[in-house]
């Protein structure tokens, strides 16, 4: 008897599952009915010029990866007949046993004519892939392998590196922070320590110091600027320092503005929380145009990347067969740093920026546009050694490969 009920139960379950599965399939019966379903959509789109993108994070991460994904959408819009195909979360934690080079092969198999690797993580894979496909246009964003004067030049005929001069974005962010702080102490929430993150933190400091001195008439020695590195681009519980905690420590020890150098928005969220509790604090996020939206009333603005224009140029070149290997480090369009069609780096002001600060910030942006170069000597490294002599202007190499933080900045300069 008992086993009969059991059988009934089981059969009911099976039947129910089958019915539901069948219902599920019903809607999609058609595309599947044609056996090579996978090829079907690619066949009619054969004329479409496909470009493939490998994104290190989720395509909708409101950060680094989304900025690239949005650039892909921008190209599709601007270049009729082009089509983006992408794989996101390209990292060994999310995709066990795969390498970016292998995933690039998948994009290639789906018809991609250009492959974009979007992260420093993918360096070796990008090189390996470019080497294996010497005729295929490859972009490695943020890399320096195609830079003939760089430290890591590799002679690969079709490899291009693209990066925005975020140094300017960070200077503007630093300026906004200096113009706003009431305590004279600015915190910088840093990711991990390498050449890129060092030069960005240093640029933020240079911007802050300039505005502090020139627009507020204050003594640079009285400006506090502290960098705390959490150890990675985002929080890994138990491994990195908790960015929320670090931001909180900043705010509770007199740092009333925190600039974020990491990929996530903890500083902004924490500022919002404290502001709601009655404290006077601000934050500046990073990477993605829309970041301020999470907490408008504490956000002073956001420096962001706009990959669209450069990618559009390269994809167009690939399509017309005029592709060339190159290393590009693109400046903002000083006529309008927020022009989506021309500017590689922008800064969107936040609602929390005061009218007075906003005016001064515009003045600063105008000065940068007019040729003001904050990477001009005298600049000393953190340990006091002279880096740039009086009136000496830093070369690209000197900025890109900055060996230490600068004098006047507090915080660790190198991983020990």
């Amino acid at each position: 008897m008992k086993s009969k009920t059991l059988w009934i139960l089981t059969s009911l379950l099976i039947v129910a599952s089958l019915i539901l599965a069948a219902c599920g399939g019903g809607a999609t019966e058609e595309p599947v009915a044609t056996e090579p379903a996978a090829e079907e959509p690619t066949a009619p789109a054969a004329e479409a010029f496909k470009f493939g993108m490998l994104l290190v994070g989720p395509y909708n991460d409101h950060g680094w990866s989304q900025a690239h994904y949005d650039a892909g959408l921008y190209i599709q819009e601007k270049l009729p007949g082009s089509e983006m195909i992408y794989i996101d979360k390209v990292n060994p934690a999310d995709r066990a046993g795969t390498t970016p080079a292998q995933l690039a092969e998948e994009l290639l198999a789906q018809g991609a004519k250009v492959i974009i690797f979007n992260s420093d993580d993918m360096k070796d894979s990008a090189l390996e892939f470019a080497q294996a496909h010497p005729d295929l246009p490859v972009i490695h964003a943020s890399g320096d392998s195609a830079w003939t004067e760089g430290k890591d030049f590799r002679d690969l005929p079709m490899l291009a590196n693209i990066m925005g001069r975020m140094e300017y974005g960070k200077m503007i962010a630093g300026c906004a922070a200096a113009l706003t702080t009431q305590t004279g102490k600015i915190g910088y929430l840093g990711p991990l320590i390498n050449d890129e993150t060092r030069r960005l933190a240093a640029s933020a400091y240079l911007g802050a110091r300039y505005c502090w001195q020139n627009y507020l008439g204050k003594d640079p020695a009285e400006l506090g600027f502290k960098v705390t590195w959490i150890g990675f681009w985002f929080n890994i519980p138990g491994v990195t320092s908790d960015p929320t905690q670090v931001a909180d420590d900043f705010y509770n020890s007199g740092y009333d503005v925190v600039l974020s150098g990491i990929d996530t928005t903890e500083a902004l969220v924490e500022a919002k929380k404290l502001k709601d509790a009655g404290q006077t604090v601000w934050a500046i996020p990073y990477d993605y145009k829309g970041s301020c939206e999470e907490a408008t009333d504490v956000c002073l603005g956001v420096p962001y990347f706009n990959w669209g224009p450069a990618y559009l140029r390269y994809i167009t070149a690939a399509q017309s067969g005029t592709w060339q290997a190159a290393w590009e480090w693109n400046s903002p369009d000083w006529a309008d740093i927020n022009n989506p069609d021309t500017s590689a780096v922008g800064f969107i002001k936040g609602a929390a920026l005061s009218a007075d600060a906003s005016t001064k910030l515009d003045e600063f942006i105008g000065a940068l546009a007019g040729g003001l170069n904050l990477w001009t000597g005298p600049i000393n490294l953190q340990d006091g050694t002279a880096y740039l002599q009086e009136a000496q202007v830093a070369t690209d190499q000197e900025v890109w490969y900055l060996p230490q933080l600068l004098e006047g900045m507090e915080g660790q300069s190198v991983s020990e």
């Binding site: 008992k2 129910a16 599952s17 599920g24 979360k89 360096k123 320590i193 490969y401």
Partner: protein, 349 residues
């Protein structure tokens, strides 16, 4: 006759669990507006659609096979070795360390690679013995001890990559400087698969199968796992057996780390363990610790991982779907097993 019948009952319950898991995943797909059958077709096509793709599946399979095999040992001893992720990582660190040490030594590459594998096993075993010591001598539950050690292992990796082992010039997220080709496990041409890795995986499983099934050690280990008190009372040195289980499992996890370094990534990268430890725990639970099922089930899981790569490319779907399916399978298997036992108990009464 009854034996046969209960066997059929078991199978039908397992079948129902698979159906439920599929059903669950299908419902999720429908809710997200995706075509389920097309999604499944893409996963299948993306994993076994060509020889090349299948070789990619095998690349992902070997480390999973090794970790699951290791976990069979600790599970037999009644231990939850959550620390296996850290053990893979330490294996990878030891392997990288040894390769760095000997890469310019002029020793034959084959010998260096063998030493590298042994170093990986040593690293994993040492890390596991820490969790084991915490458990047997410190009274720290192996789950907490293991988790803590996992964090330490990841932190250690990052520190090495951005600190002492950073590349000349620039510390990079992409890991340490890649090793020269002659220090890679040789690959079958045209694929990323090393036949040596596959052989290592299968030998490891065979050895553990024999140890668990056919040896005195395996028998006593099983006794420890079933009932530690009575095992102790009948004179089995339980602490020593538990330590041995940890060390064996750690060695296999370390070997998985060594394979990751020598056969897959050819350097140390931040997340070198790739989550194979946690995935291995899922597989081990799913197969109810039956050694022979390790091969097909871990192969199936690896195929899901590789096959799901097609989802974002072709259907613009989130490829974590494979993870949903894997998780659902384990959940429903455990659930149906519970239901089965209840029903059978009732039937007996």
């Amino acid at each position: 006759m009854t034996r046969n019948k209960s066997r059929w009952i078991n199978i039908s319950f397992q079948f129902a669990a698979i159906l439920l898991a599929l059903l669950f995943t299908t419902i999720i797909l429908l809710f997200s507006g995706a075509p389920p059958l097309q999604a499944y077709a893409n996963i299948i096509n993306g994993s076994i659609g060509s020889l090349k793709k299948f070789s990619d599946v095998l690349v992902a399979w070997v480390p999973l096979l090794l970790t699951t095999t290791g976990l069979l040992v600790t599970f037999t001893a009644g231990l939850w070795n959550i620390g296996i992720e850290g053990q893979i990582t330490l294996g990878a660190i030891f392997t990288t360390g040894l390769l760095r040490l000997f890469q310019d030594s002029g020793l034959p590459p084959g010998l260096i690679l063998i030493l590298a594998m042994l170093a990986g096993m040593l690293g994993g075993a040492l890390w596991a013995s820490l969790a084991g010591a915490l458990k047997t001598f410190g009274g720290v539950n192996e789950i907490f001890g293991g988790l803590g050690l996992n964090f330490v292992a990841t932190a250690l990796t990052l520190w090495l990559i951005f600190g002492p082992w950073k590349r000349p010039g620039i510390g990079s997220m992409s890991g340490t400087e890649p090793f020269p080709n002659h220090l890679w496990l040789p690959m079958i041409s045209g694929t990323r698969l090393s036949i040596w890795a596959v052989i290592i995986g299968i030998i490891a499983l065979a050895v553990i199968y024999i140890v668990l099934r056919g040896s005195y050690f395996g028998l006593r280990l099983k006794a420890v796992g079933k009932n530690i008190r009575s095992s102790f009372l009948i004179g089995i040195p339980t602490s020593r057996y538990m330590m041995s289980a940890f060390i064996l499992c750690g060695a296999l996890a370390g070997l998985a780390g060594a394979v990751q370094v020598t056969a897959v990534y050819h350097r140390l990268i931040p997340s070198i363990s790739s989550g194979y430890g946690y995935l291995g725990l899922l597989v081990a639970m799913l197969i109810n610790y039956k050694a022979l099922l390790v091969i097909p089930v871990s192969l199936f899981f690896a195929a899901l991982n590789i096959g799901s790569i097609q989802l974002p490319i072709i259907l613009k779907l989130d490829s974590t779907l494979s993870g949903v399916l894997q998780g659902a399978l384990v959940l429903f298997f455990l659930m149906m097993d519970g239901v089965r036992q209840r029903v059978l108990r009732k039937a007996e009464r």
